[in-house]
């Protein structure tokens, strides 16, 4: 209901009370004014530029976070999906880096007298710190996003805005894209083959 409608309703209540001969006392007027102010708060804020900007920020965060971060649940506890996903990224990066380093070391062992091969293998080993650097940056980014999200959710609650809980991406064919699953949940290639062959 818009502002005019809200005020009309309240005034009508006052008129009705007066017409009924019940009289209008200070407490009645106070109560109605409090209700008007509360209604106005929500209505005015909903129409305000600030409200629209907040909606834009909320939508932008939802797009940015994808699957990796969920908003606060109703009981106020953070669902730890972000940290699980981050742990999976870290572990995979570390495992990959370890395998690459082992392979580079093996290459050096196979050609110990070849300075050029040793130099190139060394470069490979040196660059395997990508996992650690990526992890550190990811942790920072996730932390920043979670902070922003926490603050915005508190503001959304105060303004009585709806929360959006979308961490699934639906592609144009109507199929949900979830990206790589966590190790404990992911089917093996054999599982996929069995499903594929059964279709």
């Amino acid at each position: 209901m818009d502002l005019t409608g809200i005020l009309s309703n309240k005034l009508q209540k006052l008129k009705t009370a007066k017409n009924d001969g019940k009289g209008v006392n200070f407490e009645d007027i106070s109560q109605i004014m409090v209700e008007v102010i509360d209604d106005l708060k929500g209505t005015f804020l909903r129409d305000s530029i600030i409200y629209r900007e907040l909606e834009s920020i909320r939508d932008a965060i939802e797009e940015a976070k994808g699957e990796t971060i969920t908003i606060l649940s109703d009981d106020g506890k953070t669902i730890p999906d972000a940290s699980l996903q981050l742990d999976a990224v870290i572990k995979q990066s570390e495992d990959a880096a370890n395998d690459i380093i082992d392979a580079a070391c093996k290459i050096m062992e196979l050609a110990p007298d070849n300075a050029e091969i040793s130099a190139e293998a060394t470069k490979i080993i040196e660059k395997c710190d990508f996992g650690d650097l990526s992890r550190q940056r990811l942790v920072k980014v996730v932390s920043h996003l979670q902070n922003i999200e926490t603050r915005l959710n508190k503001l959304f609650d105060a303004l009585k805005m709806e929360r959006k809980e979308t961490d699934e991406k639906v592609c144009e064919s109507g199929v949900v894209l979830t990206g790589p699953q966590l190790s404990a949940e992911a089917p093996s290639q054999d599982d996929i083959d069995a499903l594929f062959d059964s279709l």
Binding site: C171, E172, S173, V175, V176, L177, A186, I192, L195, F196
Partner: protein
């Protein structure tokens, strides 16, 4: 289906390291005639520009470019392209994804991460022994 080890293969992925990896694995298996595209639109342009394609290997999630599923559907809808074997290589491993890809006409489905042995096995499933 007999396999021509010199057939022209199009690999499609928005990740440059992934394109390098797939190219390298194909080379190990014996397929050296490989071209690359970075999403469905890019791939369709290359497919339509020249003929003689023997195989498409494509990622699924390539946004903001054209994803692998609509790309597959475009290929299967095009008279000049629909015969080309299409293998999806993707991190999407949920049942609905596999079903959707199969219904769209994919010849085989590989989940990431994968190795040369898996890729070879899937190509053998499509083409027969080589």
């Amino acid at each position: 289906m007999a396999v021509d080890m010199n057939m022209k293969i199009l690999i499609v992925d928005d990740s440059r390291p992934m394109l390098k990896i797939i190219r390298s694995l194909l080379k190990q298996i014996g397929f050296g005639n490989v071209e690359e595209a970075t999403d469905g639109h890019d791939a369709l342009a290359k497919l339509n520009a020249n003929g003689g394609w023997g195989l498409i290997i494509s990622d699924w999630n390539m946004e903001p470019g054209m994803n692998g599923l609509p790309f597959l559907k475009e290929v299967r809808a095009a008279a000049a392209l629909k015969h080309i074997p299409f293998v999806m290589v993707t991190a999407e491993s949920k049942t609905d994804n596999v079903i959707a890809a199969k219904q769209a006409g994919v010849n085989n489905y590989i989940v990431k991460p994968f190795n040369a042995e898996t890729l070879k096995g899937k190509l053998k499933a499509v083409f027969g022994e080589f």
